[in-house]
């Protein structure tokens, strides 16, 4: 009798009219940035076989900001991006995207669909595809298997691709295989793939590695122009480049934040000078 009651109770709960079944709730939620902070990282710890790659790291990034992350090799910059994008599980800590999305509860694909795009340290494009198709695959939209089977490009998507091609200066190479591009062009294409996806937050790992001075100048221009509408986090070793785009700089050292501030503040920071002693910063 009692169990019957329980079952009816459960059934009633399931059939309630004022709620929606969990699997019917749209998975794609938009990020809530009412407090003007888009990324909260608190107490992050990641260790690889006992090596502490991230050590109680705290970082807050404002919506629309352009933030530079610097730090020596092995400081944990890439690992930090891995945690944000769901590639690496952290041992402890929390990572929130806006007020409402717990990044640690999602996997890579979901996080990408939530609006976080990422450029890898080593340029990674689909080499067997043309530049155009690389961008097509990056477009925002449904990413399911059955949708992909029947997908055709709409006019507005075509326009978006053309727009991105113009921004990254690859209009002429649109039908070239991505594998045949130069290193710098691949970097650009990968940035273009991020743009095509129109993410809220862009994580850009070493965008100017292997670029000529002129190319990196254009990259600097592009990244600054993106800030405002998008939030951009850039990791870069090239100090000149960082100086040219940076508003706020965060220095990572051995997996935690060593200093934060404008370029000048950071450069005059005692700790930073100590760590970088002898190194031109």
């Amino acid at each position: 009798m009692n169990s019957l009651n329980q079952i009816t109770e459960q059934a009633r709960e399931v059939m309630r009219r004022d709620t929606t079944w969990p699997f019917l709730v749209p998975r794609k939620r938009s990020v809530n940035v009412s407090k003007n902070v888009i990324l909260y990282l608190e107490g992050l710890n990641v260790s690889f076989d006992g090596f502490q790659a991230l050590n109680n790291l705290n970082l807050y990034v404002n919506d629309g900001e352009l933030r530079c992350l610097i730090g020596a090799n092995g400081a944990g910059k890439t690992t930090l991006m891995d945690v944000i994008t769901g590639k690496t599980q952290c041992d402890s800590g929390s990572a929130w995207f806006g007020q409402n999305i717990d990044l640690l509860a999602h996997d890579e694909a979901e996080i990408a669909q939530l609006g976080i795009g990422r450029k890898f340290q080593k340029p990674t494009v689909f080499e067997a595809h043309t530049v155009f198709h690389n961008l097509e695959l990056s477009l925002q939209g449904a990413k399911g298997v059955w949708r992909a089977l029947t997908a055709t490009l709409s006019g507005s998507e075509r326009d978006r691709i053309d727009e991105v091609l113009e921004i990254i200066g690859l209009e002429k190479s649109r039908h070239q295989l991505a594998g045949a591009l130069s290193h710098g062009q691949k970097q650009w294409l990968e940035i273009g793939m991020l743009l095509a996806a129109e993410p809220r937050l862009l994580l850009v790992d070493e965008p100017v590695a292997g670029m000529t001075a002129e190319e990196s100048e254009r990259t600097a221009e592009l990244l600054t122009s993106l800030a405002g509408k998008h939030t951009v986090i850039v990791v870069e070793h090239d100090m000149e480049f960082v100086r040219s785009i940076a508003r706020t700089v965060t220095v990572l050292h051995q997996g935690s934040v060593l200093a934060e501030g404008t370029m000048d503040q950071v450069q005059n920071n005692r700790d930073v000078i100590e760590v970088y002693l002898g190194e031109e910063a």
Binding site: T85, K87, E108, A109, E110, A112, Q113, G117, R118, F120, T124, V125, F126, E127, A128, H129, T130, H133, E136, L137, S138, K143, G144, V145, A148, L149, T150, A151, L177, G179, M193, A197
Partner: protein, 397 residues
């Protein structure tokens, strides 16, 4: 020297047509249809004394080759386009074959040696009193076909789901597929399984009421095989040319990148694996009535490895390359084993080594090299090294 070259030019250009999306399709389909139709006509209409007469043996041989071609295409879809090197596709082929074999077995009825109307001979021999439950309904053609598709499809789904969700890739995945087919082989060897043990299923009499020994049935089977191969080819072609196909190639070349763009790559892999297994199962179903037997030997790991060699020879990632490769290598095998039966495996190994070293993109790549145009599915140099390629050491082992 130069005359040879100029003479060969049209041939290269003709072959290169295959690579052009639209026209390549019609070429291959056209050649297949014309050849099989001509063979069929020559078999049925000409008297055996005629020099152009095609023997029923040849008809059946061709049908067998076309089944292998379909199997090779199934492997190419996942290996060439998605970088998943399956060394166990023979399992899906054999399961499809067993499904058809069960139907054909039930068709024998009381014409078996023991004259039992319900039980196949091997069950009578084992003193079984009644049909095992999984044999029920297999006397209905439609049901048998359904089962012969559902079982391999389900197996591929479960296997793929487990493997791809836990992100098993590369050599480990290949070994798992190999273990899968090996385990099935051991299981099917057992008499208790109820599939005829190591003799398998054989002595078939007729299919859908038509005598399997009749020339016209043989010809019809060849034509049906051709037709289904063409349909499978066109469907696969449509898939790899859709956005789905581009995502699949993207997964092959950089799975991480695809994931960070929001694609659930494991789902793409699972569905492609299931599709490929279904094609292999269809090939197996067509194979059994033509060769007249299915036994656990079809699950042999070596069979699956041979398929990979056919694809490598023809050129992976082209679909038509797999078909051409399967036809050529099997023709060579027939010829070769007639001369030196024991040396075939060595020849096959040598062929694979030569192809991997000198023709990484197979015959398709060879002919492609003579045409300046680079098709979009070309295998990029980088991916070639990093993705599930079989090293020469592995194959000669």
């Amino acid at each position: 020297m130069s005359t040879v070259k100029t003479a060969a030019q049209p041939l290269y250009r003709w072959f290169a047509e295959f690579r052009q999306p639209g026209r390549g399709t019609s070429w291959l389909v056209g050649v297949l249809l014309v050849v099989t139709l001509a063979m069929s006509a020559a078999n049925l209409l000409l008297p055996p004394e005629s020099p152009l007469y095609v023997s029923t043996y040849t008809i059946t041989l061709m049908g067998k080759y076309l089944c292998f071609a379909m199997l090779a295409m199934a492997v190419d879809i996942i290996w060439g386009y998605c970088g998943i090197l399956s060394l166990g596709h023979g399992a899906f082929f054999a399961l499809g074959g067993y499904g058809m074999g069960m139907y054909l077995m039930r068709q024998i009825g009381d014409r078996g040696v023991y004259g039992n109307p319900d039980l196949p001979d091997f069950m009578v021999f084992l003193n079984w009193q009644e049909l095992p439950w999984y044999w029920f309904g297999m006397d209905q053609f439609w049901f048998a076909v359904l089962v012969a598709l559902a079982i391999p499809g389900l197996l591929a789904f479960v296997f793929g789901w487990l493997a791809f969700r836990s992100r098993v890739t590369g050599v480990y995945l290949s070994i798992m597929t190999q273990a899968l087919t090996y385990a099935l082989m051991l299981a099917f060897f057992r008499n208790e399984m109820g599939f005829g043990g190591n003799n398998g299923l054989t002595d078939f009499k007729d299919i859908l009421g038509f005598d399997l020994q009749a020339d016209s049935t043989r010809v019809a089977l060849l034509l049906v095989t051709t037709l289904l191969l063409v349909i499978a080819f066109l469907t696969s072609r449509a898939i790899v040319q859709s956005r789905l196909g581009r995502v699949i190639v993207a997964v092959r070349d950089s799975e991480a990148r695809a994931r960070f763009l929001g694609y659930r790559t494991e789902r793409y892999k699972v569905w492609l694996f299931v599709y490929s297994a279904l094609i292999a199962a269809v090939a197996g179903m067509l194979y059994v009535p033509q060769v007249g037997i299915i036994n656990p030997g079809e699950f042999s790991p070596l069979n699956s490895i041979e398929v990979v060699v056919w694809v490598a020879v023809g050129g992976r990632g082209t679909l038509y390359g797999a078909i051409v490769g399967a036809l050529l290598v099997n023709y060579a095998k027939t010829r070769f084993t007639a001369l030196m039966p024991d040396a075939w495996l060595f020849a096959l190994g040598a062929l694979f080594v030569v192809v991997t070293v000198y023709l990484p993109r197979g015959l398709a790549g060879l002919f492609d090299r003579f045409t300046s145009k680079n098709a979009e599915t070309a295998w990029p140099e980088r991916a070639k090294e990093s993705n599930g390629g079989l090293s020469t050491a592995e194959v000669s082992a």
